[in-house]
């Protein structure tokens, strides 16, 4: 009875999120191209065989890992630095925080456009102008370093999130602990290493997991900045599958890729979820 209020949300979520995955499995066992009506037929695991033989798919999978982990880690480190800087009293702290959260709020498509044009453009871009005193000429960042260019936009958007999270972590740290350590003769670095980092640990874990959940699904930035190119140099799995499904109309192939992605994600997520639950969920949930 007490669970009745839960049911609408639960049923809705199951229908909208779980049934499509079951259908994905179903389609992945078929050969079906939308541009050839009537081509739908059972081919069982053929699609999977071609997915694993597809060297582009492997490259794209690797790109996804690099893009996700690289962006998360760099954003974490930058976020930590900013959080430490903000965890002090100084003039204009509120304004500084407001400025810093803004990149996270900006519509990702708009952010991507911004980076592609006014910032990273070889001729008119602000970045090359800022770097020109250091001898950088009209560097074509997006065609020369496509993956890195996409990642820069992602890191720029996600650093504020990490900063907010870690700042909350820093602010939840009891000051008496730090005062006690200072009286015990610990210096700033020792306090950071012995007290602050262990305290931040669960916040760092949480940031990693949440960042990864969202960044592994990155589509906007790839779509807008590089279209996955040149070739598939900067494509990630969401974009690659999108290409297969909506540009190649190959439902069976893209469904099989989707299933592979889900299985890989489940493997990673099982670890990640356990982390989150150990850190936060379980403690409050059990009583």
């Amino acid at each position: 009875m007490r669970r009745a209020p839960l049911l609408p949300a639960l049923i809705f979520t199951i229908i909208v999120t779980q049934i499509p995955f079951l259908l994905t499995i179903f389609y992945s066992l078929q050969s079906w191209n939308l541009v050839r009506p009537g081509s739908q037929q059972w081919v069982w695991f053929d699609n999977y065989v071609s997915v694993f033989q597809d060297s582009q798919f492997r490259g794209v999978a690797l790109n996804t890992v690099i893009m996700t982990l690289g962006s998360v880690l760099i954003a974490l480190v930058l976020g930590l630095v900013l959080a430490l800087l903000l965890n002090r009293h100084f003039i204009g702290r509120g304004v500084v925080r407001t400025l810093l959260v803004t990149p996270f709020l900006i519509t990702p498509v708009a952010a991507a456009l911004l980076w592609k044009t006014t910032l990273l453009d070889p001729t008119y871009g602000l970045i090359n102008f800022v770097l020109s005193p250091f001898g950088v000429g009209e560097e074509a960042w997006i065609s020369d370093f496509p993956l890195a260019s996409v990642m820069v936009a992602l890191i720029w958007q996600w650093t504020p999130f990490m900063m907010l999270l870690l700042l909350a972590g820093l602010q939840s740290m009891p000051t008496d602990q730090i005062e006690a350590a200072r009286m015990d003769g610990a210096g700033a670095w020792a306090i950071f290493r012995e007290l602050t980092l262990p305290h931040l640990r669960r916040f760092i874990e949480l940031g990693t997991v949440l960042g990864a959940i969202y960044l592994v699904n990155t589509f906007d930035a790839v779509y807008m900045i590089t279209q996955g190119g040149p070739g598939t140099a900067s494509a990630n799995l969401p974009f690659y599958i999108y290409q297969r499904a909506f540009l190649g109309f190959d439902i069976g192939q893209s469904a099989a890729m989707g299933v592979v992605v889900v299985v890989m994600t489940i493997i990673v997520a099982t670890f990640a979820l356990r982390l989150v639950f150990r850190s936060f969920g379980a403690a409050e949930g059990s009583n």
């Binding site: 008119y124 650093t159 807008m224």
Partner: protein, 293 residues
């Protein structure tokens, strides 16, 4: 007037220097503060640059070296409005507002049930909700497309509303549960002893306490729905397109003209930036699924 001018210097001189509050004279904090400001401005500058570029002429926008001093013009915004931003804006508003209301409607009772003391399987249900966020959206897009296409709901705003509701529901349930958990159980017990029904208790006791939390949850749903692109670009076109798809469509049809695309991007991003500024204190709490207080 005369007295104040007299008193000013008098108090200043009568106060011995060592009675003033001692301020740190070390340069370390000053350096750190300066560094913080530089980094903050650096992070913010691209956004500022976007807004500035939106007010430039195309010539000012695409110049080398970049133009910092210019006469602002609204010409670009006019172009954007002429390009038919209206329906997209309306769709974004509709999809965002309706899906957010739906999320609140579904998540509030669910979160309440999950915050009540002995609910068996609370952990499992929470686990399920968050695990749906872990599954990559791409793996679902193909059947969603096929189904939506078959039932004739392609390019329909309600398709987006349903998907956005599902997308935000897990976060909302987690977040709201954490707000419900903050309501002391003794308060619920007191209300039940005072003879209040469950509905009454929720309305009169619980809602006033968690309303800031509901507001924060709503804002976060708004941010994510407004910014969503993947579903929008794959499932809509002219009829149900939202602001992010407008941006894409705009640059595709007009070409990459920096000033006018900056104007369009500014318009697309502005509502959420403002919402986020307002809610920034609650933002972390929501985005960490309520784990950070």
């Amino acid at each position: 007037m005369a007295t104040t001018t007299e008193r000013g210097p008098a108090t200043a001189t009568s106060e011995p220097a060592d009675q003033e509050i001692r301020r740190s004279t070390r340069t370390g904090p000053v350096l750190l503060t300066t560094l913080t400001w530089i980094l903050a401005i650096g992070f913010f500058f691209p956004v500022l640059w976007m807004v500035l570029t939106a007010f430039k002429t195309e010539g000012d926008a695409q110049s080398s070296p970049p133009t910092f001093v210019f006469t602002p013009t609204f010409e670009q915004f006019a172009t954007v409005f002429d390009a038919g931003i209206g329906p997209y804006l309306a769709n974004s508003l509709g999809a965002t507002v309706i899906s957010t209301l739906l999320v609140l409607l579904l998540a509030t009772p669910a979160a309440f049930a999950l915050s009540m003391r002995p609910v068996e399987k609370t952990q499992d249900v929470l686990f399920f909700f968050i695990s749906t966020k872990m599954l990559p959206v791409v793996a679902a897009i193909v059947p969603i497309y096929v189904v939506v296409n078959n039932v004739g709901l392609l390019d329909n705003i309600w398709t987006l509303i349903v998907l956005y509701t599902a997308m935000n529901l897990p976060i909302a349930v987690w977040m709201m549960r954490s707000f419900f958990l903050e309501v002391p159980s003794e308060l619920l017990e007191a209300a039940s002893m005072d003879g209040a029904s469950l509905g009454r208790t929720l309305r009169e006791v619980v809602l006033p306490i968690i309303s800031p939390g509901i507001f924060a949850t709503a804002l976060i749903c708004v941010i994510f729905s407004w910014n969503e692109f993947f579903f929008a670009v794959n499932l809509t076109s002219a009829n149900a397109g939202t602001m992010p798809t407008f941006l894409v469509q705009f640059v595709t049809s007009q070409g990459l003209y920096f000033a006018q695309l900056s104007a369009a991007a500014t318009l697309a991003a502005l509502p959420v930036i403002i919402a986020g500024w307002v809610a920034q204190n609650k933002l972390v709490q929501g985005l960490s699924f309520g784990a950070v207080k």
